[in-house]
Structures are given as C-alpha cells and as structure tokens.
C-alpha cells in the first residue's frame, strides 16, 4: 500500500512538472502582449513599456519560468496581470462556485442514474427498460447549454422561481447562493445522468449473468436481494470510473454552461484569462486543473480498492 501511494505521488509531481513546461512553452508562442491589451489603442509606447516593467514581462522567459516555479513550490501563485490581485485569491473565489456546482451536479446525476439504470437492467427487455433507455438516448443527445436555456426560459422567465443567472456569493447565505446553482447543476446533470444510467444498466446486466448471482438465487435469495446485494455492488467499478471522468470534466469543462448562466466559475476564468493574455493565471489554472484531475483519478482508484478487495490484494503486494 505504501509503495502504491509513493508511486502515485511521484507520478503526480512528474505530471505537474510536465504540465508547467508545456503550458509555459505554449504561452510563449501565443502572440499578444498583456500590457498592450490593458492599455489599448491610445497608449504610447513608453506607457506600455512601463506597464511591462511593472508586470515583470521585460525579464527573459527563463527568469519568468524560474520565478513562477519557485513561487509555486512555496505556494505563491503570483499576481494576475489583468486583475492585479493574487491569483490564489482569484482562484479561491472561482473554486467556491465550480466545486459546489460540480458536486451538486454529480450528486444529482448519480442519484438519478443509478436507480434508473438498475431498474432498467432488472426490467430488461420490458416496457420500463425500453422507456428508460429511450429517454436516456434522448438525454445523451441533448446539448447541456440548450437545456440550460430552456430551463432559464421556464424557471426564470416564465415562472420566476430561480434567478436567470449570476451568483450572489456564499456570504449572502447558503440558500440564496445555492438557488443560483440549481438550474446550472440540472443542465449539467441531466445529460450526464443519461450516460451514467446507460453505463449502469449494461454493467448490472453483465453481473446479473454471473454465476454468483445464479448461486444466490438458487440458495433462495429473492430477486431484489440478489440484485442489490450481489449484482449492483459488483457492477460499480465501471460506474465509478465514469463518475470520476465526469467530475474532472465538471471542474473546468463547464465554460459554456457558465456563460449561459453568467456564473463566475473556473471555466470562464480560464477562457477570459486566455483572451486577455493573463498568462500567469492561465499557467496556474492549467497546473491546478491537471493536479485536480490526477487527484480525482487517485480517489477513483481508492474507490476501486474499497469496491473490489481483489484489487487491494494486488496493491498490497
């Protein structure tokens, strides 16, 4: 187990370092000067030069890379060129939107998908199964931003139950802040639930055909008990894998939904930072998100250990 952890930790550090090199090199090639963008068309060359100096952009690329990495090692993410505030502060505000949104979406999609998928598997070939899989097929094809716009038109414009977008901030209270996240979370969760329910159904179908389920039924266990005690737990590995992938996507790949709902999340921060050439923010976010994906994958692996003792035996070798 310790060897396993060390292996993963080394992997994490190497991957993160590679991410820093790649993102830094890519941003060097990208045309566009953050200082010129801040000052726009009326600025004189000496003013742009003064701002470049203030931002530290007049140093060589190597020095800037070194300074950035040295900062990261000490936990200092640097100062945003555009916003002139510490990047850590900027990211912390966005994390407070993106992480709750991702968690809410995953909870919603899992809560919908697993019972529905298991039900479809148990009713295989019957009307319920056909109906569920038909809806799921539709859900897979549903673009989440379109669903978002529909939800806004319905629950914000026609029946104003929720705000049409924006985020009031957690300091205004738990419920006012959560209200802002419900429609976006639904828009993200429903298409994901569609995918997840299909995965659940096929995984459960596979385990239902296994010998141990037949044995359980033969020794007199009811169909429902055999399903929940034996078939479902053994079907969870592919399901957890998909949940892990979906969670990684939700952390940063939600820029379109954030735009539709005008939410200040991580996705929009990355997008804005690239357009405004807020290079330091782009660098930090790429590294942070790479780290988050690695950590999520690690948690998924840990979940495997819990779900299937055979894996843990191998890991302990």
């Amino acid at each position: 187990m310790t060897a396993f952890l060390i292996r993963r930790l080394v992997g994490l550090v190497v991957t993160l370092w590679l991410a820093t090199v790649v993102v830094f090199l890519v941003l060097q090639v990208l045309p566009g000067d953050p200082a010129a963008l801040m000052l726009d068309t009326s600025a004189r060359p000496d003013t742009i030069a003064a701002l470049r100096h203030q931002m530290g952009l007049d140093r060589s690329a190597w020095v800037r890379y070194g300074a950035w990495i040295w900062g990261l090692v000490r936990g200092d993410f640097g100062v945003s060129y555009t916003y002139a505030v510490p990047v850590s502060e900027l990211i912390a505000q966005r994390v407070m939107v993106s992480v709750p949104l991702a968690v809410l979406s995953i909870c919603l999609s899992t809560a919908i998908a697993i019972p529905v998928g298991v039900l479809a598997a148990a009713r295989r070939g019957r009307g319920t199964d056909a109906a569920i899989m038909g809806v799921a097929q539709f859900g897979v094809a549903l673009p989440n931003f379109w669903l978002g716009i529909l939800l806004i038109l319905l629950f914000a414009v026609a029946y104003p139950v929720f705000p049409a977008g924006g985020f009031v901030g957690w300091e205004k209270g738990f419920w006012p802040a959560l209200r802002c996240l419900i429609l976006p979370a639904l828009s993200l969760a429903l298409p994901q639930a569609a995918i997840l329910s299909r995965v659940t159904r096929s995984a459960v179908l596979e385990t239902l055909g296994q010998d141990y389920v037949r044995t359980a039924l033969a020794k007199g266990l009811s169909g429902v008990m055999a399903l929940w005690r034996h078939a479902v737990p053994n079907a969870l590995i592919p399901v957890v894998t998909i949940i892990g992938l979906q969670f990684s996507f939700l952390l940063a790949g939600t820029v379109i939904i954030e735009n539709v709902f005008a939410l200040p999340g991580m996705g929009r921060l990355v997008f804005q930072a690239i357009a405004q050439r807020d290079l330091i923010v782009v660098q930090d976010l790429v590294v942070l998100l790479a780290g988050a994906v690695i950590v999520v994958n690690f948690l998924v692996d840990l979940a495997y250990l819990g779900l299937d003792p055979r894996i843990s035996h191998e890991g302990a070798k």
């Binding site: 990208l30 045309p31 566009g32 000067d33 010129a36 963008l37 801040m38 000052l39 726009d40 068309t41 009326s42 600025a43 004189r44 000496d46 003013t47 003064a50 701002l51 100096h53 203030q54 555009t82 916003y83 002139a84 505030v85 900027l90 505000q93 966005r94 716009i149 806004i152 038109l153 629950f155 914000a156 414009v157 029946y159 104003p160 139950v161 929720f162 705000p163 049409a164 977008g165 924006g166 985020f167 009031v168 901030g169 006012p176 209200r179 735009n259 539709v260 709902f261 005008a262 939410l263 200040p264 999340g265 929009r268 921060l269 804005q272 357009a275 405004q276 050439r277």
Partner: protein
Amino acid sequence: MNRILATLLATTILAGPAFAAKDSITLGMPLEPPVLDPTAGAAAAIKEVTYANIFQGLTRIAADGTVAPQLAKSWTISADGLTYTFALNSGVKFHDGAAFDCSVVKFTYERAVATDSTNSQKGFFEPIATTACPDPLTAVVTLRRATGDFLFNMGAGDAVMISPATAATNKTNPVGTGPFAFKRWIKGDRVELERFAGYWGPAPKLASAVFRFIADPSAATAAVMAGDLDAFPLFPAAESLDTIRKDKRFAVVIGTTQGKTIMSINNERAPFTDVRVRRALAHAIDRAALIDALGGNGKVIGSHYVPGRTGYIDLTGAYPYDPAKAQKLLAEAGVKPGTEMTLKLPPPVYARRGGEVIAAMLEQVGIKAKLVPVEWAQWLGPVFADSDFDLTIISHVEPNDLGIYARDKYYFNYKDQAYRSLYTRYNESNDPALRLDLVQQLQRKLSEDEPNVFLFALAKTGVWNAKLTGLWENQPIFANDLSGVAWAE
C-alpha cells in the same frame, strides 16, 4: 396545475418581495472591468462602472457631450490659452475621509505623466508644464502649448482625481470623491456600490447600485426578461430587441456613440498607396445594406466624425455605392480582377458579421477578400502595433480622435503633411469659430484622401425598465452616470 405549483414554489422560495419604493438599481454590462482604477487601464468597462459614480475630475463630460464643471466650480483661461486657473469646490471629501484640495490636483496630474505612469491616455497630460497651488482651493495649470481639447480631456475618466493615500490600491478598492462609494466586487459576477453619506454635492436618489457582467447574449436577454436586471445600457443581443420592445415593462432606447466604424487600410502597402484604390473600395461598399445586416441601428458616416458632434458635416455622399465606378478606378490603378486582399476581423459582431458582408460586396468588383478572424490580442499586436494587415474593420470609440491621422506612427500609416499642419492649428486653437472651421476642413480632407473607408457610427442600444429615469440615452464617453438616475413613481 403547473402554474399553481410554480406559484407555490415561488412564494416559498423567494425571500419576501420588496414593495417599498425602490431605491436600488442593477445594471448589466457585457464585459467585466479588469480593475476599478480608470487611470490604470484603457478598458471601457472600468469607466462604465466608476466614471461620475466613484471618481470625478475637475471637469466632467455631460450627457450631451459638453464640458461641465465638477470638482472645479469654474475656471478662467489666459488669452494665450496657456494658463488655466481652476476654482475648486470646497468641502469635497474622498470616501476614506481625506480632503480634496489643490494638492490632490497636483498629485494626480504629476502622477499621470511620471516615467512609470501606466495611464493609457498619458498624452492628455503631456502638454501640462506645471500645476501650482496658490491656495488650497485654486489650481493653476500651465501648458507648454495651447491645447483646444484640454478641458474636455480633463473631464475624461483617465483624468479623475486620485488621493495620494489610495492611489496604489484603487485598482481593487477604488476611493474617489463621487456620490457612490465602492462596496464590494465578486470577480466575474458583480460590483456593488452604495451611496456615500459624506458626498459634497446633492445626494443621489439611488441608495445602492449593482453592476453585473453578462457577456452571453442569450443570458443577457434572459436576465432582462426575468427582471433580474433593471437596465442593460449597452445591450449585446440585437436579435432579441423586437421581443423586448413588445414588452411594456421595458424601454428600448437607441442612441448614438462616438464609435466610428471604419474599414482601416494599410496606406503604406501596395496597392493601397494609390488613392484611386482606396476610393474604389469606398465606392464598392453599400453602407446602408451593411448597417441593415448588422441590425439597422447605425448611421452612415463619410469621414472620421460622428453626427451630433460640434462641427459635424455630412460627407456621406462623397462615395456613393457604385460598383461600376469602383471597377473603373481599380482598373485605372492597375489592380487586376481577382486580386486577393486580407481582411482581419477582431471579435465584435460589427467586424465579424460585417466582414462577411463586405467581402461579398468586394467580390462584386473583382476583389477576393480573405477573411482572417483574430482575437483582440492578435489584433492589438500584429495589426495595431506592427501594421501587419491589408484591411481590417474596427470601431474607433474615443471622442475627438482626429489626431490619430496626424500621428507619426499609427497603424493605418496615413502620412499627409497638409493634414498634419491643419490638425496642429486646430489642436492649438482656443477660438471657437476658428476651431469650427478647422474641424470641418479636417473632415473634408479625410473624405478626399479616404485613408480608410468610413462606414458608420455605432449605435448605442440600451434596454431598461420603463420606470427608470435619468440614464444616458447617448454615449458621448464611456460612462453609466447614476448621479441623476431615479425610479419614477
């Protein structure tokens, strides 16, 4: 049933609706300001939040585009146009309690021209030789050379008064002398302001204001329709305007801006060095059709000057839409049919969609326009800084910017001595009659040389609650001045 359910949900979920007279406003803006210090960045959004609300200058630009007193209650100008004596208002305080007097004026202007200044309009302050304080409420500004636009420039967002104590922190915690004080900023979502109790002038009607940042056109429409926003002064979704017009709750107000939308031409690159080619391009574009394709709200212009400004003359008839004439001029200049030109398009709709329309029109006269969409960063770098382009579409939004045609180095490379001397005379004159004559000559000269193809003046499309009064209909400068905004009973 659905309606009942929704109503039930609404009444249980919503916090008690406020029936008291409304004294707050929530405005939508397409872009978020990067910082909140108008002297530290060029982004229009900075001024749209802070100008006249948080920060004030010695003079101010009023809704009609004229110069009005603000922190200076009056001024005199010496006969040679070199010495401006400002009488300052007394009892003016910054939001942190610091007093405003002449020392602040001196600090502000000297800071703006310092070597390490990052003021994007440093040029406004460059004519200032000295700022002297004979007494705390009198500021005497001496110029190196007469500058006709000096009072206008000192009313710009870039010239607002900055307290020495807070100069370094204004980017994130702005402290000014205006009727509203900064409360908080949720980055990516909103900036909140509240009425400043110690304001020196008449107290504003509004107790608080929120600026929300919504770039996506459909999100903007939804926020307006849902009543989440009271006003969207620069509404980004032209295609939703008809729906909003039908709704009695809202007023749709089409006003003017200072945006001169032009197809810029690289005057140093062949074949554009030949005036016949530039005139041919002007004849090849049907401006009315272009405006229609972009929503129908712009106004055709014939020079680098917008209708409504003092001294505007109508030169829109100089190059009527005439493809045959365009082809003839091109042939005379030796430009063969099928010649390829690149047309670089920055992100705004007028450029991206407008570029496609213009490319189709140019094809009619035998020019193949290769459309190259670029981000702002790529426009400011290669196109603007390095003049690496044939043609591009851009709206020049600064007021009074005839001077860009007189610069030694400016991206479209128009270098004409006659224009330059004309502009110098205009710039250094304080005589209104002479300035009027010269500004008309400048417009004519540009129309004649057609260094760029002048297309149309950008319209300002505002949407707000029909009960709101006092918002600016037009946009003489970038601002959302809330000092006179109120809710009608």
